[in-house]
Symmetry: C2
Subunit: 501 residues, 2 copies
């Protein structure tokens, strides 16, 4: 934690001694500071532009058969990647503030995970993948108690693992629909008509239930999830969907302290619309069984709302008998300074269901006991996640606790946010709407072209950034991102902004 006390001046001073300005390497605007994560590198080191010649050759080798080849940024040398630094196949070492779309919890090649892999008793877990729902391994309970159950959101006693974020939300929807129908039929037995009609996709067996979602939200790309995703047209175009209600999400004005009243009104407007939609859909015999929301709309542009907004949304859900599902796939795992972002809200009554994936290494969801299906095999698939991921997650959570990484996210996030606000003050024509919680920060640029140009320039200066929404840049560093990494980035980015044309 000593590094957090380092003043910006001292950081700059230390950079004089950096070995980044080695002769023959490309110049980096500002270099690294103290290393307090012992396996971390001490700063970026750029040898070519990115993608470099080896990445370009590799890209050519996949373009004929890999569907998504055009999306590839560059090829990576993960063996050499360490801590907060991603190394590419051309030997460029970059400070990674995007961390594989927010999915690397404690940095690359963490010594604890290497050690885990080297222990002979763990081999079997990686090569003998079971059908977890019927034939779990001996240490199943132990590993889940060390991992997921040890960080379960308050009031949510039940857990189920899944392989990815989309499957987590899909199955959470199903648990909600089953819960709702069970309530509706008064916990009576299922009728013959229900059993028969469900086989041909018809009501009453397949009831006309809906999940209410928000414009700008992202909850995955499988058909059920996609019906609640409304962030970009490219995700949804040409895919048949369901007529499920979509509410507006608050569009807050920044700086927040200057627009208190306007923002309150905006949130009230959105909440009113939520209630109207529930009623309107009910009138046309389509029942809103649940509401799904992200604590911060991530893919959609890092859109925040106040804690009060979410508390009121939770109340609306309860009032109308809808389940309240918080999608923590991107926000969960500690980056906001609490393990779950929704813990900031101070809810009296917990969320009903919370989904996760990404940094949690396994997908899955927590829920209240009343959402437990009334029979086994109703929420089921062959793998139901992967014990190898549970094993690694147990280790990751141990590291998070031992190294106090939630507080670290708060502190490092503060350093990052303060710096971004400073840059916003100096470059208001390039940076606006600076916002964030923990290290989960972002800002807007004037437009898509400027945003993408800034990301490209930063990458060539040794910093990997990610975009979101139509013109935002989002920060999704690992949990071992420290104050000095924030200062390192801010120095590099300050130079980029100063020279931006």
């Amino acid at each position: 934690m000593a590094s957090m006390l380092l003043s910006r001046q001292l950081t700059c001073c230390l950079q004089q001694n950096s070995r980044l300005l080695v002769f023959g390497h490309r110049y980096i605007s500002q270099a690294a500071a103290k290393i307090d994560v012992d396996f971390d590198y001490d700063g970026p080191l750029m040898k070519t532009e990115v993608p470099g010649p080896r990445s370009r050759v590799s890209s050519q080798s996949i373009v004929t058969w890999f569907v998504n080849a055009e999306a590839v940024h560059f090829f990576c040398n993960y063996e050499e990647s360490r801590g907060n630094y991603l190394v590419d196949v051309d030997g460029n070492r970059m400070l990674d503030l995007y961390s594989q779309i927010s999915s690397i919890p404690i940095g690359y090649s963490h010594p604890s995970l290497i050690k885990l892999l080297q222990q002979p008793q763990n081999l079997s877990t990686f090569i003998n993948r079971p059908a977890l729902g019927i034939l779990p391994p001996e240490n199943f309970a132990e590993k889940l108690k060390e991992s997921l159950l040890s960080v379960a959101p308050k009031g949510l006693s039940q857990v189920m693992t899944m392989s990815c974020g989309s499957c987590s939300n899909e199955n959470a929807f199903k648990a909600i629909f089953m819960w709702y129908r069970n309530k509706e039929r008064g916990h009576n037995n299922v009728t013959k008509e229900e059993l028969e009609s469900c086989m041909i996709n018809q009501p009453p067996g397949c009831p006309d239930y809906a999940m209410l979602s928000f414009m700008g939200g992202f909850h995955g790309r499988t058909l059920g999830c996609l019906a609640t995703t409304h962030s970009k047209a490219i995700h949804k175009l040409d895919i048949p969907s369901l007529d499920w209600p979509i509410a507006p999400f608050p569009r807050l004005k920044y700086p927040l302290e200057d627009f208190v009243k306007e923002n309150q009104q905006e949130e009230a407007r959105c909440l009113e619309e939520v209630e109207d939609l529930i009623v309107k859909y009910r009138k046309k015999k389509k029942i809103v069984a649940g509401i799904i929301v992200e604590p911060i709309q991530s893919e959609g542009g890092d859109n925040h709302a106040s804690d009060d907004f979410f508390r009121k949304l939770r109340d609306i859900a309860r009032k109308h008998g809808c389940a309240f599902l918080v999608d923590e796939v991107q926000t969960g795992g500690g980056c906001t300074g609490k393990f779950w972002a929704h813990e900031h809200w101070g809810l009296d009554d917990p969320a009903d269901v919370v989904t996760f994936s990404k940094k949690m290494m396994t997908g899955g969801f927590f829920h209240k006991e009343e959402f437990r299906p009334n029979a086994p095999y109703r929420i089921f698939n062959t793998w139901l996640g992967d014990p190898a991921k549970n094993l690694m997650l147990a280790e990751v959570i141990k590291v998070i606790k031992t190294e106090d990484l939630l507080n670290n996210a708060t502190h490092a996030g503060k350093a990052l946010l303060t710096g971004l606000l400073d840059l916003q003050a100096r470059y208001p024509h390039l940076i606006s709407r600076v916002r964030g919680r923990g290290t989960f920060c972002s800002f807007d640029t004037p437009n898509d072209a400027t945003r993408n140009k800034l990301i490209t320039i930063a990458r060539n200066k040794g910093v990997v950034l990610g975009g979101c929404g139509d013109r935002s840049i989002r920060f999704r560093p690992t949990l071992i991102f420290k104050d000095h990494h924030a200062h390192l980035f801010l120095n590099i980015f300050s130079d980029i902004l100063a020279n931006f044309k």
Copy 2:
């Protein structure tokens, strides 16, 4: 391969020497034969009933928080499980003919996979999971060429990996919908109206397209997949669905040679219904963009159809401009004696899309080039599978080729099927409709209760079997299941049937 020449008599003779009849262990009706898989055990070894006391204690420890706890059969000791044998926490060693719902390709704890895990250069792949679609590892092309691309079905040059079977089918549907819409709009630009309407789940951006599926089929449990799944009510009850057409799947009469004409008529009836449904749905403005079918309906009860049926179905798809999607999630990977079950059909024009998962260790799908989306990020998610699984799959495919495991599946399958036909002749009141391709065999029992009782008795005699449909038992052994394992099973099961009350 020498073991395949062993006559049944010799097998029985060898069993005299088995060390299974050791004093103090529970009696096993018949014991093991030759071991030609050097890491395999030589036979079952039962110490308690299953689930035994330790399994029951473990079950109690998860029931309070694990949603699916009631579905757990028993807890396993995967460290001690080897080859075709699953060992449970009470030390019972069972011949596993279900192999984690058909998902263990080359047996438990295969030495090649252990070696792979022990190689230091592979460590990084297991702990640094990338966002594969944007930042692939250096050896991405190499590993996919050694694995998936080396077994790509003829004519399907494109591949995409996914994390599980459901995500594979969901994304295959999406690729089909995009392909269809692109044809329909004449490869013109997307309109503003499409871009706007898709954001609110409405046509024309979200067109009213459908996948045609078959009654009895199983294609996964996420909402899109579930709209094509029609095997059991428990999968579908209470989940909203889509009005997509469902055709009857042939219900063949056995033995096939006695019902040639009836079965031809049955298949013709089903094919006619497929065409009628396509036309009928088109009339109500719901376009069938694709047809999905399993080569053998697995979860639905191991329902087979003739190669001719599938060739004609493929022709119907082409005639009506629908994509032809073959779901090889359970049938793929070699167990039918060909790498892909649909290779038995002798199609002139290949399938358009083929999905896989389970034994392939990673999910994903192959497709023709014309199904490649016209822009990156249209088929995308954070992980897009897992390079650790690709690495293991490359090793698995090497073993399959080196050890000639496709031919082994044909031979061992023949031994199994011949033995089952023999048992059917002797116990027609218990066994009927014996059927299979390679080791992918099954038979019917008189009813659900008898089926479940047989499975329980077999388990306590040291054989793990799986059920499917409403009264079938299915065989899903690993690819290293040999003739002598078939004989071992047949002897045990013969005794069970002889004593069944």
